[in-house]
Symmetry: C2
Subunit: 367 residues, 2 copies
Amino acid sequence: MTNNSQSPKKRRGVTIMDVARASGVSYATVSRVLSGYEFVKASTRHRVMEAVEQLGYVANLQARSLAGGRSRIIGLLVPNLDNGYIGTIMRGIDQELERANYDLMLYTTHRQPDNESFYVNAIANGLTEGLLLVTPLVATTYLKVLREHSFPYVLIDQVDGADNSSSVSATNWQGAYEATQHLIELGHRRIAFITGALVIQSAVDRLQGYKAALADSGIPIRDELILEGDYLQRSGYEISKNLLQSAVPLPTAIFASNDLSAFGAMDAARECGLRIPDDISVIGFDDIPQASLVYPKLTTVGQPLEQMGKVAVKMLLEQIEGRNHQPRRVTLATQLVLRDSCGSHQVEGEEHSNTVKRDRRKPIQLN
Amino acid sequence: MTNNSQSPKKRRGVTIMDVARASGVSYATVSRVLSGYEFVKASTRHRVMEAVEQLGYVANLQARSLAGGRSRIIGLLVPNLDNGYIGTIMRGIDQELERANYDLMLYTTHRQPDNESFYVNAIANGLTEGLLLVTPLVATTYLKVLREHSFPYVLIDQVDGADNSSSVSATNWQGAYEATQHLIELGHRRIAFITGALVIQSAVDRLQGYKAALADSGIPIRDELILEGDYLQRSGYEISKNLLQSAVPLPTAIFASNDLSAFGAMDAARECGLRIPDDISVIGFDDIPQASLVYPKLTTVGQPLEQMGKVAVKMLLEQIEGRNHQPRRVTLATQLVLRDSCGSHQVEGEEHSNTVKRDRRKPIQLN
DNA sequence: CTGAAAGCGCTAACAA
DNA sequence: TTGTTAGCGCTTTCAG
């Protein structure tokens, strides 16, 4: 009978026992050395380390974690991997995790949005020491689960309105305000706004910022210029197409709630024979990597995505390592990134009035 | 003395024991039910499942895996997360993993390229059931380790020349051949080529494909038009800048070994006052998402990155699930993606000769 | 069909 | 300073 077992066999590596044998101590001592326990005779430590080296021993995370140790793994829950947005945040997360010597488990939920709660369960029960959530559309139901277990987690680019969760987000309101103001200063008066899905707080904040800026400049808010989108390029395109084909007079600028929908708007504008920025200005939000690749390069409100990832990790580790358990809400500043998709517009029958100037951070000029 | 333990306390969830108690069976039976063991009385199974449901039991992966079960986690080792390339592959991986109900552990090695072997160790010894490697620059040393442990792994976009590893890659040679041929058919004769790092097999293959196409068309291969790059935008830029400032006569087309360096080439061309594709054509390789966003949209050799991810997962699972252990090398077809960055060039003193036509797959026209 | 029991590799008291 | 030992939660024989 041949020995081709059907089930995958577990191949075992060098264990702590092997090291113990090789260095002539009990395996508890090996464990002590490995965990950096202080009171081990230097010579013993030395011998153990040598054996470790020699045998190429690497700890078995699961056993360690099962036995009450630390897995040094944190989980990242994201809706999908479809655009640079997540990727950029991940880069920040990854960098910070590296510094702290943690590993990353990636959970994608593009699957069953409802079932996210299952994940959370599995995770909380499982090998992860903490969770990073980039899930704008979460049914906040499972945040409760996490909190009940006092399981460490941090929300990214999302706040937990009712409850108190730690979160990292950006100045959505202000970013939108400044972007709008920028357009106004360029002379635009008819500024269309494409929202994100309005169940998302950040989307609402951006809308409010837009409205506030208009109001502060005494420009009437026209409902027909506010279109509800969902942060996707496709909807940005369709909404804009529709708008540009029907609105009279045409808006002279479109402010899209995120870069992706701004790309859609650009496509639509082009298809309608409009030149950007000559005939119409477009401004986005996020500053994902593609923003500087499209043509013309997109002027946008930069979110410090990478930074947000980093900060989130820091906050999470604070919780995990027991330094701080109070929920903290950190808000990072957005910054207007001037590129090529916005141009000035001659306001008819009005000399270029000195529009409201507020104290504000200097936008940066990028290429 | 207050009870604020400094170390993160382990919070325990519902265990198999709880379920056993609740359903009045031994915990071994619960385990059986959970693992889909056939010979359990239907009624028992039912009772157990109910308890599971009711208690919200979720298996502890580590315990399961430690005890010889399956963790259903596979590891992905990547150099970094810096561009859409990895992201696209990941998307494919993720999709396939979802179907098979596995989770993903992400290891980024942008850190210490040397230390990758450490990872492999840690992983092989750890919680992962298999490994996907997207590490073009690996010191193949640790592949040996994996093989010795007969640990399942699959290389993506990379082949293991000497040894026999399972791998998924694309038709690099042919893709480059076709791209070059395309340029030739457009009338180009002076075609510069920016290589990838030539320690990478795919980079070499692409170079060979380029040379072969030239040779087959009777066009001399000029060393001064072959520039060694490293797949990065920056080097693509610098190399091209340099070339465009010094070469006489100028090349009429640049074939960059990947999209990123093609972007660099485009930047350089623009800076030199050259219009694309009017003055100079640029063609890339990969077809990362950004390729259709840059201006003009990049004509490129499409690699089925997402598909490669999927196939890699399939192959890995074949190994893990014991269906197939022989190393398999799968090569997926590349496809020329025609966009806007290439134009025809009038060949001087030569009527448009009927260039070599081979049987080839039809390129696709995209926007 | 189901229970009992032996670990998987490691950590963390508890002794010595 | 070091050894002994009891689990962590689960899978898997081995007996019923």
